[in-house]
């Protein structure tokens, strides 16, 4: 083991390179060649010096002449507030503060956005007159046209006609989400649709992009993924789903049908306008909303 011997040759080499660079601008022929020559000479000396060990020359090493530093005279165990302890503490403390300053915003940014500011959009499905009474439609629409086709959703809906509430006539719709209550696959209508019935698919463009209404005569709904089956009110009749299909709440705005938000349903008694829907706050697929199992899902993330 040895220290590399100190050498001045690299400095001469650097001066040569500097002169060469200046010379390239000022006077390439004269100054440039002088700089080049200096760089070559000192470079060669430097290389010769650096490789002396490789070429088997003994390396002259100056002996260490400095005096060893006098040990700082502090009796061990005497200090009441040892400096090393103080420095250790401040290093850890300052490190913790800096870590916190970085980790809190970064962690918050990583974890919070999915749970905050979840917007629920209204969906305009068009004028009420389009929906023939008693006819089922498969409606597709974009929840948020700014996101594009990825926000396209499907619902099964039927106009139940008007019902009398108090003294007024109120339109009634059955609007069922196609998200399977098992694991969220797209539920299909079990029955003929569209041209085979001799009925046309209605399309129109609202603020929710291109809305399509495909007439269908369903005997029920079925999921292609794991075989969950539902009746036309969305009640589970077979397979793995844990509850009935979710539904959309709606309002009539200026004679147009507007979907609001979805809610979960344990089961439905009766049919159509007379149906008694057992409503719950919207929960994810596969989550029980009633029975003993509901204690497994005490708190759902904020939805909207």
């Amino acid at each position: 083991m040895h220290e590399p011997s100190p050498t001045l040759w690299p400095i001469g080499f650097a001066i040569g390179v500097a002169v060469l660079l200046v010379g390239l601008i000022v006077d390439p022929v004269l100054l440039g060649s002088i700089g080049g020559a200096i760089a070559i000479v000192f470079g060669a000396l430097w290389a010769r010096d650096a490789t002396s060990e490789l070429r088997g020359r003994p390396v002259a090493i100056e002996p260490e002449r400095r005096q060893p530093a006098a040990a700082h005279a502090v009796a061990p165990g005497r200090e009441r507030f040892p400096r090393s302890k103080f420095l250790e503490g401040t290093t850890l403390g300052v490190g913790a503060v800096i870590t916190g300053l970085v980790a809190v915003p970064a962690g918050g940014f990583a974890l919070l956005p999915p749970f905050l500011g979840q917007k629920r959009h209204k969906v305009d499905l068009g004028p009420l007159t389009e929906f023939a009474e008693g006819q089922w439609y498969i409606a597709t629409f974009m929840v948020d046209p700014s996101e594009g086709e990825v926000s396209r959703r499907t619902a099964f809906l039927r106009n139940n006609g008007n019902v009398t509430i108090g003294k007024s006539q109120v339109p009634s719709f059955t609007i069922i989400s196609n998200h399977c209550a098992h694991l969220g696959c797209p539920v299909q209508a079990n029955g003929p649709s569209g041209a085979i019935l001799g009925l046309k698919t209605l399309t129109e463009t609202t603020k929710n992009g291109k809305v399509t209404l495909l007439p269908v005569v369903p005997a029920g709904f079925g999921c292609p993924c794991h075989g969950g089956q539902y009746d036309t009110e969305g009640n589970r009749t077979a397979g793995p789903p844990v509850r009935a299909l979710d539904r959309y709440s709606f309002e009539v705005d200026n004679g147009r049908l507007v979907l609001l938000s979805t809610y979960s349903v344990s089961h439905v008694d009766g049919t159509g306008a007379q149906a008694k829907i057992h409503k719950y706050k919207e929960t994810g697929p596969g989550e029980h909303v009633d029975g003993v199992e509901q204690i497994l899902y005490p708190l759902n993330p904020p939805h909207h």
């Binding site: 956005p113 999915p114 929840v143 996101e147 990825v150 694991l183 969220g184 994810g284 989550e287 497994l296």
Partner: protein, 269 residues
Amino acid sequence: MVTRRRQPSRAELRRARMQQAIDFPLDWLEERSGLVGGVKYFLFRNVPGDTNWMQTLGSATLTAFLVQATTGVILAMFYQPTPHDAYSSIQNITDHVTLGWLVRGMHKWGASVFIILMFLHMGRVFLFGAYKYPRELNWVLGVLLLTMGMAEGFTGYLLPWDQTAYWASVVGINLNGTAPFLGPWLAQFLRGGQDIGAETLTRFYSLHMLIIPGAIFALIGLHLYLVIRLGVTSPPWSKQAAGMETDEAPNDLRVGLTRPAARGAGGSE
């Protein structure tokens, strides 16, 4: 008879000088970093004499992971993690980018190879009893690696953004959602919101190519550290002691790396 020391021939001198030219940079590096010794310590370990081909499954798994990492980096140069462009960028990789079909194929099929090799390696460790004292911690690390590998499979599956990818991810995320208590929160975190969409794709991309691979690299480092520290187990039928250390004094660090260990230095004898 007078014995005289034979003069070294020109060929021998040339070999000695060449040896010196190889040793010099290695010595330079070793003196300043200890890396030469470190690499030797890592690679030239004593292993039981009756190790088995089965004990190469761990290295095979590592190789499969490195293939995934390499091909993944190349795919990331062409892939676009947006709902509008994801599928068309995959089509572009497959149909138009030079050798893109090959790199994507390696990544796609290599993913299955990686998972299968992890299970085979785990089976070997189990059947050889190599998880027993003092190697329990390495089994735990291996289980974490297996979990991370599965998470890579899950997040990578969404990226082609076709119907299979989309609905498989819907089902997979909702499966997480059915876990008691925190399940719905985990599902919403994975979706990046209430519904699967653009946010889901970008976050799966980030998890798939940055967060989980980083965790896997770190875990592999710890896994290998323990393998080197604890040594390789003998097969169950072995008569030898496992991971036995020799009493030999540490020899020249270069032996075995640039010089054959059995022959003399410089080859002059």
